[in-house]
């Protein structure tokens, strides 16, 4: 019997090409096993063969999401795989997003089962958990020996069309898919048992976790717009030409503050977008689409509001962890307060 053909995806680091300094290498594919592929092959066993390893630098992938995905898809398809495994990416944010993006594309376009692996806090988990089986790993490559066999086990099941059991049994991040089963006791009695534990302050487990409530109550409305000082904050990745602070095109770890003093609109000579999550063509042509300076200046002249701050604050939203996003806010809000900004317009993409 022919062996089941497997393609593996890893980044520049696991391909032993280099670290951050090599993160901009373009997509390539090599026949056979590279790096952690050996552990994958071992986990899959004799019925499977890792026929090729696709590789891409994390920064390159983040900056050229669509092109790189398309290129990698073509390279992978040539090896006619029957199973695709990406990572594991552990807690590496850009690597996780890359694994998720490429795995999802392979599943959709090539119609074969895919598996990846990430640490729970990797932003790729929330981005792709509904689409993919993402094995829960530790937060660093030290966990490779433990996580690769779990990935391989699930990959085998998927390749053979066997029934996949619940997340705690198979070791994947819960995908949020609600599946029916017949419990041993009826719902009313389960509810009573849960209540007894809750009242006794003992641990209990809800059967339907509510969606996350990391919500902020809206601020009170602005009462005096005529004298309000307005600032623009965006997660749309608009930066000065050349991206002087090297804000990442996905999974951002920093934000920037740039002047718009004396400008009546966002000129494409001065600004560009580095955002890796949308088609940049229109915004490259007209950055006002994301930071609507043109309209704001008009409204300012008409006296609709008092004054526009002479700068805007920017970062990239795509793949950015909520932890980083929260930190950005904590970092720049004092500046806004200090400058007596009344209200902020947040634009996203």
């Amino acid at each position: 019997m022919d062996k089941i053909r497997v393609v593996h995806y890893i980044n520049q680091f696991f391909a032993q090409i280099g670290g951050e300094e090599k993160a901009d290498i373009p997509p390539e594919i090599r026949p056979g096993i590279v790096g952690p592929g050996a552990a994958l092959q071992q986990g899959l066993g004799d019925e499977f063969e890792v026929v090729a390893t696709a590789i891409c630098g994390d920064s390159h992938f983040g900056a050229n999401l669509e092109e790189d995905t398309a290129k990698l898809l073509d390279m992978i398809a040539e090896y006619k795989p029957q199973l695709f495994v990406a990572g594991p990416a552990f807690n590496a944010g850009r690597y996780g997003v890359a694994c998720g993006t490429i795995a999802k594309a392979v599943e959709e376009k090539l119609g074969i089962p895919v598996v990846t692996g990430m640490y729970v806090e990797n932003p790729g988990v929330d981005m792709f958990r509904k689409d993919l089986f993402i094995i829960a790993t530790g937060n660093s490559a030290a966990d490779m020996r433990k996580s690769m066999p779990v990935m391989a086990a699930l990959a085998k099941k998927l390749a053979k069309g066997e029934e996949v059991l619940g997340p705690s049994i198979e070791g994947y991040h819960e995908r949020g898919i609600r599946v029916n089963y017949f419990a041993d006791i009826r719902g009313s009695e389960r509810g009573i048992q849960m209540l007894l534990k809750k009242m006794a302050k003992q641990p209990f487990e809800t059967e339907y976790p509510m969606p996350a409530f990391d919500r902020v109550d809206p601020a009170a409305p602005v009462t005096d717009m005529k004298h309000a000082k307005i600032a623009v904050v965006t997660s749309g990745g608009i930066v000065p030409q050349g991206n002087p602070d090297h804000i990442e095109s996905s999974s951002a770890t920093k934000w920037g503050l740039y002047s718009i003093e004396g400008m009546d609109h966002m000129d494409k000579k001065d600004f560009m977008t580095i955002h890796g999550g949308y088609d940049r063509a229109f915004v490259t042509e007209d950055p006002d689409l994301v930071v609507p300076l043109d309209v704001l200046r008009e409204l300012e002249k008409e006296g609709e509001f008092g004054e526009l701050a002479n700068y805007f604050i920017t970062t990239t939203g795509t793949g950015t962890s909520t932890g980083n996003a929260k930190r950005f806010g904590e970092e720049f809000v004092p500046k806004l307060l200090e400058d007596n900004i009344t209200a902020v317009i947040l634009t996203s993409t």
Partner: protein
């Protein structure tokens, strides 16, 4: 209040020259039932059919399911204010034909009542696939107005259940269950060391085919009130709703409210079941605010430590469920919710139309969007002409041999949101 519920076990139902119960068999005189039903001029045709567990038989469209009961002593009559005269119920002795059900069947075009299969894969999901069913198939007068037809259909169920229940009056029960809840102060004093637990029963009250009645009062017109748990066992609450077969609380389920039954099992052991709060699920938003405030007030007023909350329906009621949960929990009373889920065809969307962070304890009654196959059946009670239009069906879901695919929300009480069944959903 102290209620003795005498159960006469019914293991078979047959037609007979006279209606009677003998050796666990319920014999029904179909002519008498039809005569009773046809007293109402709005009904022009009535047929009685019997369905037994395990038969290759499908019943649809089902409106309501009821258990025959009779009040033997203690005052009042079954279904007070809805069928019989208004009078306090919940005490004394009540008899029921345990294992037998009255099923009302008939077309209401477009209103999508549900399906009961007596065997096959769908039977696993339906509590009434396991009961001996007396099906009353009715046909309304031409051009009968929808409100009138709903009311007429509801009365048919009540009358027939009441009629059959009369034959249990003088029988010796096979089993007697005793339920007792004392006046609040005494009840609290009886088990001073146990946590005081209540039950918030939310009643459908949104309008036509979405109504519920308490002693005959339309639930949308009342404000939250206290009820002795035993009142419900005498028919104080009657279902007047037909939509959403899967999580409709039938009148049978009001008799057999699982939260009340199970709380009584724990009563005096690890908790003190002190009473039931009734509230509604109104469309008028200010009502939601008002009623959830009152629910929270009542819960703390009677000194509850914990409460279980059940809802009926999807969408609008989810808002009430969450408002009640938030306010009651914030009043210092621990809350557990019981409800069913509609996370969409792929199971990936949010299960409820509303949410709140206080809802940290929820028992699931299953995902109503799951599709199963309904094989052909030898016998049909009612009609399947409208399967494709019924809730859970779709254009083209029905095959020539009578089989069809549909979401389990088409099955009566499959995901009933009070925890009556063992069906549940979990995250994958």
């Amino acid at each position: 209040m102290r209620l003795e519920l005498g159960k006469i076990h019914i293991k078979d139902v047959q037609f007979g020259a006279e209606t009677k119960v003998e050796a666990g068999v319920l014999y029904v005189n179909a002519d008498e039932i039809c005569k009773l039903v046809l007293e109402d001029e709005r009904i022009i045709n009535c047929r009685v059919e019997l369905a037994h567990p395990g038969e290759s038989c499908r019943i649809t469209p089902v409106k309501d399911v009821l258990e025959p009961r009779v009040k033997v002593s203690g005052g009042g009559q079954i279904f007070p204010g809805a069928l019989n005269k208004v009078g306090q119920v919940g005490s004394g002795r009540t008899h029921c034909l345990d294992g037998a059900c009255v099923v009302t069947v008939g077309k209401i075009v477009g209103f999508q009542e549900g399906v009961i299969d007596m065997s096959g894969p769908a039977a696993e999901y339906c509590p009434f696939s396991k009961t001996q069913n007396v099906c009353v198939v009715i046909e309304p007068k031409d051009g009968l107005e929808t409100h009138d037809y709903e009311q007429a259909g509801r009365m048919v169920g009540l009358k027939v259940a009441d009629y059959l229940g009369q034959f249990a009056r003088d029988l010796e029960p096979d089993e007697i269950e005793v339920y007792e809840t004392k006046p609040l102060l005494e009840q609290i004093a009886e088990y001073p060391d146990l946590p005081k637990v209540g039950y918030l029963h939310m009643l459908q009250s949104q309008g036509l085919l979405h109504d519920t009645f308490y002693y005959g009062v339309d639930a949308k017109t009342f404000i939250p009130t206290l009820m002795y748990p035993t009142e419900i066992m005498d028919g104080a609450i009657v279902s007047g709703n037909c939509v959403a077969p899967c999580d409709k609380v039938t009148t049978y389920h009001h008799f057999h409210n699982p939260v009340i039954e199970d709380l009584y099992k724990h009563h005096g052991k690890d908790l003190n079941f002190v009473g039931v709060i009734l509230t509604n699920e109104n469309v008028f938003l200010a009502d939601k605010e008002r009623c959830s405030d009152m629910v929270a007030k009542l819960a703390s007023y009677i000194g509850l430590d914990g409460i279980l909350i059940t809802e009926e329906g999807y969408g609008n009621p989810d808002t009430d469920l969450m408002m009640n949960c938030r306010k009651v929990q914030n009043a210092g009373v621990d809350v557990v919710l019981i409800t069913d889920e509609f996370p969409g065809r792929d199971g990936k969307s949010l299960s409820l139309a509303d949410a709140c962070k206080e809802a940290d304890a929820l028992a699931s009654c299953g995902n109503g969007n799951v599709v199963i196959h309904f094989p052909p059946m030898d016998r049909l009670i009612g009609m399947t002409d409208f399967i494709e239009m019924q809730i859970g069906g779709w254009a083209g879901c029905k095959n020539d041999d009578g089989s069809f695919d549909a979401e389990i929300q088409i099955i009566i009480a499959s995901t009933i949101a009070n925890g009556f069944n063992k069906l549940a959903a979990r995250g994958y």
